[in-house]
Subunit: 692 residues, 2 copies
């Protein structure tokens, strides 16, 4: 069992790691040659240019101003300085609302932590429940003395925990309610305040039925002229233009090389020559600039041809179209209503932003969509509960015996002590780690296969899957210690009333483990985020090997994005831990509060300076965030019930049953009250604010 | 254990009871003085007049034509004769689609019964699994020899049952799919083909926010002039006119009396006199006709005044309104879209038919609605699982000891042997029976409290609650023998994988009980339905004591209606039993098939001749019906899995897991494919068919 000093050591290590990252960041970000890594957002907005130009050679690469290094943490207040409305302009509503998730964490957990330390910690600390068990040789740490474990069985003190559980629930719900309303207002205001954008007048129509007599384009026009005669403006069918895209891409590459050779000519005044063969290594020597000009001409012609092809070939036309209306009101009406008798045809929805559209999924027909959904649901179930089976199989293959059996000729190599210990010690761990690194990608591929039409919805779907995976394999997995499959079978073989008891008993014992987890994953990793190690290395590698023109350098920047599909489930894990431990082991709460504060700072800085959002969904993800926090609340209540049952607090436990019922009701209330602001689009807003 | 001959006896009793009812019906319906009881629908439509007029005195009351009695079952082919489109005209779509539920039962169970008897019965019969157990002195009936109980543990014959389970599932789903599509088409066709009705141009607006400056009426007008400027036509606010309604009712009663006295004057040529006191028993004597004329005048004035009051008093105006549009298209658009930023205000939905509106619930605000929903959900849970507690309490009160304790002065009375045996033998049963009789009313009150705005939705809600109650207390209750509360606690204390096993083991043992149940509830009761004993008695009592004028006689008719809230859950119980026993004890199937056939006949007859529908919802209940049959299918699959697990058919059981997954997927597919036809209203239909 972890003692308080163990946790102190872990805290020291993690805090110093985090500080180390911050110092490294402070130094690296001041170097001009890293400027594009740490401030790409500003470059992309055109508000910052290379500091490399027009300085002394040394100061092109290294910042020699020693004063800049003194205040190495001053990016923190800077990150907080930009007011919210300006931040919305700068980075979009998605980013701002994403930051609000961290703020909610602070709003929920700071008061809860205070309350818990004022009320529950004294109650637990002054109890003597653990002294009895110490006689029985069960060592317990000081952390446990702060937790509910220290209270005697059947003690009247549990009333304190129950009252606190009520207080925590009401406070959390209050914060959630306020926040849902605030975000909904922000969303509607954002949508209404935006400048007229074509996609606000446009509706995406999917599943257009095939017609033997008319082309898709004619069919769409006729359909909307008949059904929305006063409002229909125009439409744009969706083409399958993969070949065209490839040609355009190729032309772009050639143009880039052309610029490179022209620059070279300017500098060296010598016409560059290249070989036309593979990778320029052999073949006929030609003048580089002329060669590229002719190639570009050829491609331009091909592109024109291919464009003709695509527009005329009926096979290239997908059964989907973007239909534009004269007014936003009409577009809102069309997006929210059912068009035909058959509700699986002519499906209308608000057009996503052009950059948010996931083109490949637009033409999937309805039946195929439902089949895909079934397949993915089954696959995800197996992935969550049985993912250890293939990994264990690969691990046996990657073990010493496995390698010797599969490839006996490797025996001499394997017998080398260093390689032997590497295989034994690291390989199995690496296999698992690799799987976990690729898991978000796997989930994303699954969502893509499922057929969502926009990148934002793909990310939302992946996020909810990732959350479930984390819940089963990190939260339950660490509490119940066993693979998800073992848990599943033990749950199936257990009476239903034993579930909360099983989890409730294990929860306080795992507090110190989760504290360590929070420090590693929540403190050090977040600090590492600001350092952007991977983009830094990749940028300099690219800069060294690939960058030929100014345009290339721009493309070598990898600002990245928030990554909703991985980031949000990670935050949710902290909500879950915080709420579950609030009434059980309040010692966990300060660690979680620090995580939320630190993460808020770091991500605010990143959003201002680094991340480049890929799309703008207008905070469409908020209902998911809300739902998962409510789920965490319900889990925490059930766990507490189970725990108190084992503590024989029979007189007080039944009072907890009301809580989950109230919480579920609260969720339904919020859903009815706010959700449609994120799904539909009120006509009043169209009419009043847009003034069409 | 019930033997085959026991079932034979029960069948004989029930068949002869049913025949008795049919004979009684055949005799009674031919008597002219019962004409209004057995053909009220035709009277209400004005297509039939009293046969009493213009005949000999005797034949006014008794049909003396002996030939009419010979073919006492000829109402059956008559009931089938009317084709479906005509029946829709005659009785509305609701009734026709309701009949289709019975037809589905036939479509599903006739092929399943054939298949089960051809394949499963031989497989079960030729097994010898029960012979072993007979040695152990467990008697088993011949019914059990037909059931899966007769197959040896671990036998390979279970493959037959699994293949059949697949066949049954696919067949049921196929029928359901076809039927859903058919009903959706019927609904859309019905809505489109109807003559222009004002409610098709009208939207019901609820939760109109209070405004300090404007009245509700002005507010509504301004709101819709701004948000639907091109389409808004007019509106009608909803008044709280309870007092007005009472006055109108009173005036109607007086008018009726006036007619009565005028008739009397005509017949007797003597001006009738009445006393003005209580019930006409004392007080001043006045001329009856004059008195009523003055009273009616007074009331007419009061009504005009009250009408003025209601229209001018802002307190009498409810925050709800019916808004009419110029086109059906605009009404469809308004009903399907969100109006304001706050989705809980200005809630729009299609206006129900005027007679379908449940006025009292229109002004309930949103927050109150969600609170009511919570209260009812909790109440219903307790009602389902703990309803035995108050009943047991009343039963102890109604027992001998209870009465002697509560009212010792009754002791001499209670000591009389007859009363003693009555209290001991009947009273406890009657208490339970009374509760079960009032249960649908209780559920209806609960739905009303929950705040639905139309009678059709109230009935749908009550139906789903009644189904759940039946599922827990009749289906599970009889299988597991114990009160619902005992089951609940045994389920909670049991591992989850034991649920299907517990039910699966009990299922085959209960087959003969359910066969008896089907014969009593499904054969004899259905036959009793056609006899209409209660309306018959009530009509004649009213006719004898209360009827004064021709109008009174019309009102004494009680045609009743289908009673979706009690009828549909009852049918669903048969679907459940049929699907569960299809693979387990095929002997149950013929009994269920007979039920569906008989009920179809009887209810088709009743719908043509008797029932007067209270509203027309356009078969809006179909998604519920579909959902419950799918649920029954899933229950049957899980039960079969549990049963085969106890039979140690380990190699074949896992193949059944696919079935519930496929069935759930099928349900989701149907939901996406068809449900919106029952919720939304496609714009295409508005545009094309209505030709506004």
């Amino acid at each position: 069992m972890t003692t308080l000093s163990d946790i102190g050591v872990a805290a020291a290590i993690n805090i110093s790691t985090a500080l180390l990252f911050f110092v490294a960041f402070a130094i690296l970000r001041l170097q001009p040659w890293n400027d594009r890594v740490y401030f790409p957002k500003w470059y992309l907005k055109g508000l910052r240019t290379d500091p490399v130009h027009g300085r002394a050679l040394v100061s092109k690469f290294i910042n020699l101003d020693w004063r800049a290094y003194l205040s190495f943490l001053n990016w923190m207040p800077e990150a907080l300085r930009m007011p919210e409305p300006e931040l919305i302009d700068h980075a979009g509503l998605d980013s701002v609302v994403y930051l609000r998730i961290y703020l909610i964490g602070l709003k929920i957990f700071i008061p809860i932590a205070f309350l818990a330390w004022i009320v529950l910690v004294p109650v637990n600390w002054t109890s003597t429940g653990l002294e009895g068990s110490q006689i029985k040789n069960i060592t317990s740490s000081n952390i446990d003395k702060l937790s509910v474990s220290n209270v005697h069985r059947g003690s009247e003190r549990f009333w304190g925990h129950i009252v606190m559980a009520y207080a925590f629930t009401f406070w959390t719900c209050y914060v959630l309610l306020k926040e849902y309303g605030k975000v909904a207002t922000m969303r509607l205001g954002f949508l209404a305040a935006e400048k007229r954008r074509p996609d606000q007048f446009t509706v995406l129509v999917r599943n257009i039925p095939p017609d033997p007599d008319e082309s898709v384009s004619e069919l769409v026009e006729h359909f909307f002229l008949v059904n929305h005669p006063d409002h229909y403006l125009t439409h744009q069918v969706v083409y399958d233009a993969n070949k065209l895209a490839k040609l355009v891409e190729k032309k772009k590459k050639f143009k880039n090389w052309l610029v490179y050779y022209q620059n070279k000519l300017e500098r060296t005044s010598k016409r560059p020559e290249i070989k036309t063969g593979f990778l320029g290594l052999w073949g006929k020597k030609v003048d580089a600039i002329d060669h590229h000009i002719t190639e570009i001409d050829k491609l331009s012609k091909e592109i024109v041809e291919e464009r003709e092809n695509v527009t005329n070939d009926p096979k290239a036309i997908m059964p989907a179209a973007f239909v534009s209306f004269k007014t936003r009101w009409a577009a809102a009406v069309c997006a929210q209503t059912q068009q035909t008798r058959n509700p699986t045809l002519w499906l209308t929805e608000w057009a996503p932003e052009p950059r948010d559209v996931y083109w490949r999924n637009l033409p999937i027909p309805y039946v195929s969509l439902t089949v895909r959904r079934l397949i993915i649901a089954v696959t995800f179930f197996f992935l969550t509960f049985f993912f250890m089976i293939p990994i264990a199989f690969v691990q046996t293959l990657a073990s010493l015996d496995g390698i010797q059996k599969a490839a006996p000729w490797l025996k001499p190599l394997v017998d080398i002590p260093f390689i032997k210990s590497f295989i034994q010690g690291f390989l199995p761990g690496i296999v698992l780690k690799l799987f976990l690194i690729f898991l978000p990608t796997i989930l994303m591929i699954m969502s893509k296969f499922e057929g969502f039409g926009s990148i934002s919805s793909l990310e939302r779907r992946s996020a909810s899957r990732y959350y479930l995976f984390n819940f089963v394999n990190i939260f339950l997995g660490n509490i119940l210690t066993g693979t998800a499959f073992q848990q599943l079978s033990s749950f199936i073989h257990q009476p239903a009333d034993q579930y909360p008891v099983t989890i409730g008993t294990a929860i306080p014992l795992k507090a110190s483990f989760f504290i360590t987890y929070i420090m590693v994953d929540g403190w050090a990793s977040i600090a590492a985020e600001v350092l952007m190690l991977k983009p830094l290395i990749v940028y300099h590698l690219k800069n060294f090997f690939l960058v030929k023109t100014e345009k290339d350098r721009e493309e070598a920047m990898d600002p990245g994005s928030i990554g909703f599909n991985t980031g949000e489930p990670r935050i949710q894990l902290y909500f879950l831990l915080g709420l579950v431990y609030a009434a059980v082991t309040p010692a966990v709460l300060p660690f979680i509060t620090v995580f939320f504060g630190l993460a808020y700072l770091v991500f605010r800085h990143q959003i201002i300076n680094v991340y480049n959002q890929e799309y703008e969904s207008g905070a469409a993800f908020w209902p998911d965030v809300h739902f998962r926090i409510v789920m965490a609340l319900i889990v925490s209540q059930i766990v507490l019930m189970g725990l108190l049952t084992t503590k024989k607090a029979a007189s007080s436990t039944p009072f907890l049953i009301v809580l989950p019922i109230l919480t579920i009701w609260f969720h339904r209330y919020c859903k009815g009250r706010f959700e449609s602001a994120f799904v539909k689009f009120p006509l009043q807003v169209c009419q009043f604010v847009f003034c069409d």
